[in-house]
C-alpha cells in the first residue's frame, strides 16, 4: 500500500493535478514515518518551481516545507496509535 501511494504520488507530480501528490503526502504521513512524502514535496518544488535566486514567496519551497511539517506533525499521532 505504501509503495502504491508513493508511486502514484511520484507519477502525478509530473502528469497529474498538483493536489494528488499532496493527498499522497498526507496519506503516507498519517500511517507511516515516510521520507517518501518529503521526497515527493522536494520533487514537486524542483520540477515546478522557478529558480530560488529571486526572493519572493513564490520561490519558497512550499511542498517541501509541507512534507517536513506533515512528517513531524503526524509523529505524535503515529507514536500514540501505531506500532
Amino acid at each position: 500500500m505504501r509503495i502504491a501511494i508513493a508511486v502514484i504520488g511520484f507519477f502525478t507530480v509530473m502528469i497529474g493535478p498538483w493536489w494528488i501528490p499532496l493527498i499522497c503526502m498526507v496519506l503516507l504521513c498519517i500511517r507511516w514515518s515516510a521520507p517518501e512524502a518529503v521526497a515527493l514535496g522536494l520533487l514537486m518544488d524542483f520540477v515546478w518551481q522557478g529558480s530560488m535566486l529571486a526572493s519572493s514567496w513564490h520561490t519558497w519551497p512550499i511542498f517541501t516545507l509541507i512534507g517536513i511539517a506533515l512528517l513531524w506533525g503526524f509523529e505524535p499521532l503515529r507514536r500514540r496509535f501505531l506500532f
Binding site: 497529474g16 520540477v47 522557478g50 529558480s51 530560488m52 512550499i62 512528517l71 496509535f81 506500532f83
Partner: protein, 266 residues
C-alpha cells in the same frame, strides 16, 4: 486486521524515530544546498525528466484516446458491430484531421508571429494543472537557444509568461498571471495593478470614473508594452468607489499546444 492499536510507549520526542526524522530533514536541506551550489543542476535534471515523462504520457494518452478502445466497447451493445466499426473509423479519421488542422492553424499563427519577432516556436510538454506555482514546461532549452527571462507569447501574440529556468532541452515558464502574482498594466491609457488568479486570468480594482469596457486590450510595461489580456468582465456597485475589472487571455491556456519564446527579455 486493525493496525491502529494503542501504543502506550512514553518514549521522548528525541529518541529512535525522531532521530530518523531529523536525519530526513537534514538530507532535504543538504539537497537544496547542493542544488544551489551546483547552479540548479538538481532542478535541471528533475525538470528534464518531468518534461520527458509528461510529453511521453501525453502522446500515449492521445494515442489511446484516438484509438477508440473505450468508446467502441460502450457502443457495441446498442449498435451493429460492422456499421459501428465503420463509423468509428470515420470518426477517428475526422478526429485526426481536426487535431492536425488545429495544430496547423496554430503553427500558421506562430509563423506570422515569427515574421515580426525573433524567437523559437516550441511545444508545451506539461499540463497547466500539474503545477501549483502557475508554471509549465516547454520542449526547448538552452540547446535550442532559449534564454532565461525571455518573454513567452501565445499564438495570438499575447504574453503568457517568462522563462524562469532553462535546462538542456526543456524550460520552465512562469505565467505572468499566475495565482497571487501582481503585474502593473494599462487598460487603454489608464493604469491598474492586476493580481493573477491562474489560467491566464487576473483582476484589478480601478476607480469608477475610469471608463472600461469588455474587450479592451490590456498591456504591460513589465513585458515591453506587449498585450497581456483583454477585459472579460467589469463589475461595479453603485455604492462602491471602485470597479472590479477581470481580464483573461483570449484563448484557453489549457488548450494551447505551442508557444512562441522571444529571444530577448523585451
Amino acid at each position: 486486521m486493525n493496525s491502529y492499536r494503542r501504543n502506550n510507549s512514553r518514549a521522548g520526542l528525541l529518541s529512535g524515530q525522531s532521530g530518523r526524522l531529523i536525519t530526513i530533514t537534514i538530507i532535504v536541506v543538504l539537497v537544496f544546498l547542493a542544488d544551489l551550489a551546483s547552479g540548479g543542476k538538481v532542478r535541471d535534471i528533475s525538470q528534464g525528466a518531468a518534461g520527458s515523462i509528461s510529453g511521453t504520457s501525453a502522446l500515449a494518452f492521445n494515442a489511446i484516446k484516438h484509438s477508440g478502445i473505450f468508446s467502441t466497447r460502450a457502443r457495441l451493445a446498442a449498435h451493429n458491430q460492422e456499421l459501428q466499426a465503420e463509423v468509428e473509423r470515420y470518426r477517428e479519421q475526422d478526429s485526426a484531421y481536426q487535431a492536425l488542422k488545429a495544430e496547423n492553424d496554430q503553427l500558421t499563427l506562430m509563423a506570422h508571429l515569427a515574421q515580426d519577432n525573433t524567437g523559437t516556436t516550441t511545444a508545451i510538454v506539461s499540463s497547466f494543472r500539474s503545477s501549483p506555482y502557475g508554471t509549465f514546461l516547454v520542449g526547448a532549452g538552452a540547446q535550442e537557444g532559449i534564454k532565461h527571462d525571455s518573454i513567452v507569447l501565445t499564438d495570438l501574440g499575447f504574453v503568457v509568461g517568462r522563462v524562469t529556468d532553462v535546462s538542456t532541452h526543456t524550460s520552465l515558464v512562469t505565467q505572468l498571471l499566475s495565482p497571487g502574482r501582481s503585474v502593473d498594466a494599462l487598460i487603454g491609457k489608464d493604469p491598474a495593478t492586476f493580481t493573477g488568479t491562474g489560467g491566464g486570468n487576473a483582476r484589478a480594482q480601478v476607480p469608477r470614473d475610469i471608463e472600461v469596457k469588455v474587450g479592451d486590450i490590456v498591456t504591460s510595461g513589465a513585458v515591453g508594452g506587449r498585450r497581456i489580456g483583454i477585459v472579460g468582465k467589469v463589475e461595479s456597485e453603485s455604492a462602491d468607489a471602485y470597479s472590479t475589472v477581470y481580464i483573461r487571455l483570449p484563448q484557453n491556456v489549457s488548450a494551447m499546444r505551442f508557444v512562441f519564446v522571444l529571444s530577448s527579455a523585451q
